[in-house]
Symmetry: C2
């Protein structure tokens, strides 16, 4: 029974494989790849720099390419597919689940997509067309058609004999779905219920008619929230006539949960979702450049505000030395609030009912921390420069900026959300603009008024 | 079949309940709570400000308090438990899963813990002692003892009849575990295999002997990575003699995945894990204060570096106006790299084999973006101030800082990890210190040398 600590084992594997590729021992690599499951191959690909990755991919058995593609993170998968011939892409998609098939096809540029579709056989083409008919990021795009359906008016014994005719059950089957003649969803029969009741009982006596269904158009983050809240392993997807269309399983939801949780993290730094840690330099530079450009604009805006006080800075150069402190603290405090509120929105905690309370709370925290740190900074600056008026100026500016940061950090994501803009992406830029401008204005403005 | 869009339904519920509590209609609230599942009650509690939350909790039926506590996020659960009497805590833990029981008990201050333990009956006390014997954040703390075990030398028919004796199967059972007389793990029998094979076959013919087991001491993030990679729904936990101790199910892993993914986000803003969006003002202020204090120190350090150039700033006050731009851009660029590398480490992509490559890549991106943006900022500043030497100075400083930011952003988390310090928490502070100091030094230093 294998129980080596996994991570060390994978690191060892990666080192072995990398060394083997670098010394041209391709037969050995092919051997290793044949012995490990597709998910491990996927991890090796994700952890390899591009050159190694391309070589590694060429050594993957074409029969399992589809399985490996399914396991890859989106960015890496797309970069590999971008270099594959359409016929090979079509072949790889044969064994894919419907949801992965849809995702791959959606990502192809139109001409490539046409080639891949024509290279498919008619059955797969029908599957593909169906998968693509659902909106990206909807329940339809997440689901698979591999449901097991039974009728309500049969006994459990009939169900058991029916299942024995099958070679195997689809992965992650914990429920059988009960449908009527028109394929309308009536309820679910958990395997646990099937196995713990006498075989002469009827399905309709034992089925769960209250089993919640997922509308095919529901957004995937809402689906993920439901799965998390109810601890589901799978869930049926229906259309608006209650026709059973497919099912969603927890492993797809886990991907959504991780992506959603990472989305805030990546967006707040101006990065795209599912970044490939080893994407080529040019590609990464391009993406980050746009973000840097936007931030440069806000930095220039702050400098522009400071330029109004150039004469003040000329007279009191000590202000130039201290000028960075207040905006910096405001930015940090504001970021904390922003992060919390963005997370709260993502978790479904924040809504119209409680957001007024949240704003009030963040204002209070801003004020409390504002008082504490403005007194402290006043003391430090006053002693450092032996100038108590200066201490008073920076204290006042600090207090104003910390309060402003709290209010801005809480209200910006709420306003952005109402404007249907992603709060994680735009929020931090807007926030730093606010805290920089308020901070500079409060500090230099008060200094001008009070010290000159 | 209920299929109202969940989020609107919950919002409506929350508004109803809040209104009812505010107008003292407690009977109505009790009614509502009796009709909704524990997970929905948990969401209501998490989304309510403290006063509403306390009142709401008092209206929850004591019989399901344990179930509701299980569904709550950690921070909220702990805040509620902190106000409960030991006897009530003991009663609520009766129905809890082993892992939640362990988590609750671990969180209690010692005197309260003693009271709760003495209030338990002997069976629960034994369960509690066992649950607490495992390290927090280990597989042992995540697992539950509710496994179904069978012998290898029986037929599937015997297994089916055995299961029918049970009233129900534990939630999320997809595998039966095959053990020998000494309770040593031999393999697993998936329910799918049980249901699709003739009943006269023997368990040992069909069981999966290659089923990977989880060592009881494995860290929970490693367990989560395994679950994600292999798409497991449950997994057996064994000790070093291969004795079966329990099993871990995907719903506990989903919690770990979300916490791990959020950890980076929260830590980089200086927030603790599982922050309660509605924690009391004082509690939130305290936590954030420490972070603000650390950042104030780095801001003062940057000001100290700037103070060396006070005479330069006196002569050329325009430098004071532009002084914020270079450190700001460095901070943004560095944060992108830092975020990516931290995420890469968390996903298991970054290790000794490829980190040199990663550093090289980030240096190249820093250089590329450095060239682009330094030329641009040179142009903007030169035209704004009609001073081309000034443009050259800021261009040089920008380039230096963007390259430094790239290298720092990549190497800091790797160094911190080697020092066993959480890279997400300390990383951003160290990074902004580096980019601030390098930025100020490069800009004012070059200006002093070149323009004076």
């Amino acid at each position: 029974m294998p129980d080596v600590v996994e991570q060390d084992y994978t690191l060892e594997q990666l080192q072995q494989v990398t060394k083997a590729i670098n010394s041209g021992q391709f037969v050995q690599v092919r051997q290793t790849l044949a012995e490990i499951p597709p998910c491990d191959t996927a991890l090796l690909l994700e952890s390899s720099p591009l050159k190694i990755r391309s070589t590694l991919w060429k050594l993957v058995d074409p029969d399992i390419q589809g399985d490996v593609l399914e396991e890859l993170s989106e960015d890496v998968r797309l970069s590999i597919i971008a270099k594959m011939e359409p016929e090979l892409i079509a072949a790889a998609t044969e064994d894919m689940d419907d949801d992965d098939l849809g995702e791959v096809l959606r990502s192809l540029p139109d001409p490539v997509y046409q080639d891949v579709i024509s290279a498919m056989d008619s059955q797969d083409r029908a599957r593909a067309t169906l998968a693509l008919s659902y909106a990206e990021d909807s329940a339809g795009a997440l689901m698979n058609g591999d449901t097991i359906t039974i009728r309500p008016d049969v006994s459990l014994d009939v169900v058991l004999r029916y299942l024995r005719l099958k070679e195997e059950l689809p992965q992650g089957t914990d429920d059988l779905y009960v449908v009527d003649k028109e394929n309308r969803f009536l309820g679910s029969l958990p395997l646990g219920v099937l196995l713990t009741n006498p075989p002469d009982r009827l399905v309709e006596e034992l089925m769960n008619e209250e089993r919640e269904t997922i509308p095919v158009s529901m957004k995937e983050s809402d689906v993920a929230q439901l799965f998390e809240r109810h601890n589901w392993i799978s869930a049926p997807v229906v259309d608006d006539q209650s026709q059973l269309l497919g099912r969603i399983t927890i492993d797809d939801i886990v991907d959504v949960i991780r992506e959603d949780a990472e989305h805030s993290l990546l967006s707040m730094a101006g990065l795209e979702d599912e970044e490939d840690t080893f994407a080529p330099v040019l590609k990464s530079s391009q993406r980050r450049s746009i973000w840097l450009g936007i931030n440069l604009l806000t930095a220039l805006l702050a400098a522009f505000v400071a330029s109004f006080f150039e004469s003040t800075l000329d007279i009191l150069p000590i202000l130039a030395v201290l000028n960075g402190i207040v905006p910096s603290m405001g930015g940090v405090a504001g970021s904390q609030t922003l992060t919390l509120v963005i997370r709260g929105i993502a978790l479904g905690h924040v809504n119209q009912t409680n957001q007024r309370f949240l704003l009030g709370k963040e204002f209070a925290i801003g004020a409390l921390n504002g008082i504490l740190w403005s007194l402290l900074i006043a003391g430090v600056v006053a002693l450092w420069q032996w100038d108590f008026k200066l201490g008073a100026v920076i204290a006042f500016a600090m207090f104003m900026n910390l309060v402003a940061a709290g209010i801005a950090g809480a209200s910006i994501p709420l306003i952005l959300k109402r404007m249907k803009i992603d709060p994680a992406l735009a929020g931090s830029v807007v926030l730093t603009t606010v805290t920089d401008i308020v901070g500079i204005f409060a500090f230099l403005g008060t200094a001008t008024w009070f010290l000159l």
